[in-house]
Symmetry: C2
Subunit: 297 residues, 2 copies
């Protein structure tokens, strides 16, 4: 099995769970349609896959951790719906289709986002209440994820992103800090929560967190690079939108070559946290980290 | 101490906790200002007070349950911010002040709501991780609250409310169901979670849930009545806004007198769930239930 096949297989397992996870919850029909429109719009399912890979690497059971993994995709999806709103990035297109508020309407999109964020926490509790993982572990993982997704993490990062948009002379460390909050926090939490749910030792949880931090930065740099050199069909959104919106990016500060080198350096640092582990999950995480940066080479 | 003094004393305890609960979380300054603008805008703090009263009635410690109680106010506040948005109810005024998106801007208001909802879950975990309540209890309470606040509860109720607005001939049972989701679910969860966090027996948890359901309906009927007979200064919002927006209400379906009688009947049913308990928390809950409906007499 090639790495891409392995990634596809793992994403398909997450997909299968996501398809049913909002049913039997008494959700009004149009709201459910709007939530599923965005949740089931494809995507690499990177965050759930990271939860399950770190969980598996440290001895966890994928079936038991699955609701928690799925919750990360709910949170990621809600953030995309709200980011696309007219008052925010005002994007009409997401993953090659009309964004949620274009397909439905603004009120429904706001509520679909609110609903996905809240259902994510229902899913997290199910790793204990349905799947039987110890309440202490699940509660700790919820705390980690809530902080990462909240106003000191992802939501705060989006607020800072809005403030920086259109501003010139944004220094590199401000850009880094914004991205660490906006995209890095959730990727980091995915790795960390996977380890916590496996009942791993603190040193393993530390490795997971550090790995997540480094690939989080690499991921964002590559995202910025692809916005310059990618094509609309692959990205599912217009190329050059960062520049059009007046966003400071790694390429705009460092140039393309230096950005690509920096992404590779972060991936190399991430990989140091995988030494000392063995087996197919270690191999997968190694290749996943390389894959993030290889997309721009 | 009169009932109103008791209510004020309890609200003040919640207030004191809310003032500091978002600090030390690395929240960007403008976002924090926006979150606190709405969170600390006054209000009766009814949901936290209900958590603490049921918790106390069943032997719980108010200090330990406080973060969970505060989380309910974060969720209530986020729902008000999002409901006021131009794409939703488009309200410029809330509690006698400019609504969040008028005071700040739409993007900030959306993010402040997202942030308050997410921080609520951080607070919930703190009842275990900081205050030491058993993880099993806290996890169960989180599951109850997340379902109540989510797309099958409060968020779903707002979606149905938007669908029903402007429609004529809405039957009473559809109105009841919508309100049971939109406002009833959270009030019910407040009582139920208070009991769960106290480690109460299942029969006590059932009583708390039933009490919450009944006062939830009464509360909404009274809210509708006050929108007709109240005054702007007391309400902090324009009188008659329901009718102006084309909303079906209890008075519009049943008339004022029948609505007031119905509210009183629901309160009387709620009170049956307090028989068999004794002491100052029982007395307080009794008077609180009466107070809800007495506001229109």
């Amino acid at each position: 099995m090639t790495f891409k096949e392995d990634l596809g297989r793992r994403a398909a397992l997450v997909e299968a769970y996501l398809v049913g996870c909002l049913r039997d919850r008494n959700i009004p029909a149009r709201l459910l349609a709007s939530m599923e429109y965005s949740l089931l719009a494809g995507g690499k399912r990177l965050r759930p896959v990271l939860v399950l890979a770190w969980n598996g690497l440290l001895g966890g059971d994928a079936d038991k951790a699955m609701p928690f993994a799925a919750s990360m995709e709910c949170i990621h999806t809600y953030s995309l719906i709200h980011d696309d709103l007219p008052a925010m990035d005002d994007d009409d297109l997401r993953r090659g289709r009309p964004s949620n508020h274009k397909q439905f309407d603004e009120a429904t999109a706001i509520l679909a986002g609110d609903g996905l964020l809240t259902e994510a926490f229902v899913l997290m509790t199910e790793t204990c209440l349905v799947k039987g993982l110890p309440a202490e572990r699940v509660l700790r993982a919820i705390a980690v994820l809530a902080r990462a997704a909240g106003s000191g993490g992802m939501v705060g990062g989006q607020a800072v992103d809005m403030e920086l948009t259109g501003r010139t002379g944004v220094p590199l460390d401000e850009l880094k800090k914004m991205h660490a909050m906006k995209t890095g926090a959730l990727l980091t939490a995915a790795c960390e929560c996977g380890a916590i749910l496996a009942g791993a030792a603190e040193s393993d949880v530390d490795n997971a967190r550090r790995f997540g931090r480094k690939i989080g930065v690499a991921f964002q740099i590559v995202d910025d690079v692809l916005d310059v050199v990618g094509d609309t069909a692959t990205l599912g959104k217009p190329v050059g939108s960062d520049e059009a919106m007046g966003k400071t990016t790694y390429p705009s500060l460092l140039g393309l070559d230096r950005s690509k080198t920096l992404a590779r350096e972060y991936v190399d640092e991430a990989l140091t946290n995988l030494s000392g582990y063995f087996g197919c999950e270690q191999e997968f995480l190694w290749q996943l980290a390389r894959y993030i940066v290889d997309r721009v080479y």
